[in-house]
Point group: C2
Chain length 217, copies 2
DNA sequence: ATATGTGAATTGATTCACAGCG
DNA sequence: CGCTGTGAATCAATTCACATAT
């Protein structure tokens, strides 16, 4: 199959959320227009995105909400359980450990890791904190698929490699660094400092637009 | 000027981080190759991204680390202070309130808001928690530029509109919803549940690739 | 000699228009 | 007749090649 655009994957996740909300509101049918309006994209885009994976609608009638929701879950791999571990139990790791929505769609937080002897052996948000040195063993025992990487930036690359060696092929990276992905490992980054800087750029750009003499020089 | 690609803005932030790290290591000069390798893009891409904003290098010699770092800060609007407020002092808002790196590059957390009477009047991570009903007044008194939106998803759209009315034109949204941006407001989203689902998609896609009969049916 | 800066070529994604099906 | 599904057209972003400056 031709490679799916990364932007399409992001939009499928948005469509899925919209469908879930529609189903919860008791709506049974929808159309590419509706999804487009809610997702802030064009109806062409919605249909093209779906067309990469198959035909899910009925011409003239649109889509069945519940059935398209299931299809998107299947496409996104959300119709099976994923076991996750938190790597780094600082403030962010601890906040994730008891974030309620994380168990949506079968993501199960199983264990946590840290290097700090004061944390190892404690339980945070229901998760036992293990020694990083036992990563490989504990990952195997718990069949961990995904690592949530919340270590300080200096430790992020080494932790990534340890995860890869332990057989964890999916990483959600929260630290503000560009990681080298080991062979076969997929890394997604959630970088709020970068988001903040993007906001800065656009605010700044808007101001220059309304204040043109500042551009000169 | 032609519109800068959004991907370029993201990459400029990456280049800036690399330059800061190089400067801290005492490196004085660099080249588009170096930046490209570190940022995981092509050297063409680095030069094209920079060319949108001017000429910053010396032919044959490359770039001066400190001076290109300053230029990127200026381009991204990071050479001036930005005042930020946290909207919603749940777990995530509280974690942000005492996240140390947030004051990098002149982002200053000034105040927080919540609707819960038990939280209003308290101080979390050095931030006084105000009543959401006083948003407009407190935003003005503190010259808030950016709102970090950490309210539950049901409250996110209303909070966005309150912020816009109060004159806050930059929002970093942490809640897993697609917000309608009011006129003149720039919204960036940091959505870790979406990141997790992207990881799911790619792990799942890799498995189907190595297990082709699963595709049929 | 070397690495930038940039117009031209290419690739890829989005938009469009309409054929196809219910 | 309405709305999906899709090849063709358009638009945008990336890649390339090389002229240019030091």
């Amino acid at each position: 199959m031709t490679q799916i655009p990364s932007a399409t994957v992001t939009r499928l996740i948005a469509y899925l959320r919209i469908l879930t909300a529609l189903r919860e509101q008791g709506v049974e049918r929808t159309a590419s227009d509706d999804l487009a309006r809610e997702a802030h994209v064009s109806a062409f885009q919605v249909r093209k995105d779906l067309a990469y994976f198959g035909r899910f609608g009925t011409r003239g009638a649109g889509y069945l909400v519940a059935s398209l929701e299931r299809e998107l879950q299947r496409i996104l791999g959300l119709n099976r359980p994923w076991n996750a571990a938190i790597i780094g139990m600082g403030r962010l790791g601890s906040a994730l450990a008891d974030y309620p929505n994380i168990s949506d769609y079968g993501f199960a937080l199983k264990v946590a890791f840290d290097t700090d002897p004061k944390k190892i052996g404690t339980t945070v948000g229901g998760l036992e904190v293990h020694d990083m040195r036992n990563l490989a063993r504990v990952v195997k025992a718990n069949a961990i698929d995904i690592g949530l990487l919340t270590v300080p930036r200096e430790a992020a690359q080494a932790a990534t490699e340890s995860l890869a060696e332990a057989g964890v092929y999916g990483i959600l990276n929260f630290s503000p660094v560009i990681l080298d992905a080991p062979e076969g490992v997929h890394i997604e980054s959630v970088d709020f400092l970068a988001g903040l800087k993007r906001v800065s750029y656009y605010l700044h750009a808007d101001q220059e637009e309304s204040d043109p003499q500042a551009v000169a020089g």
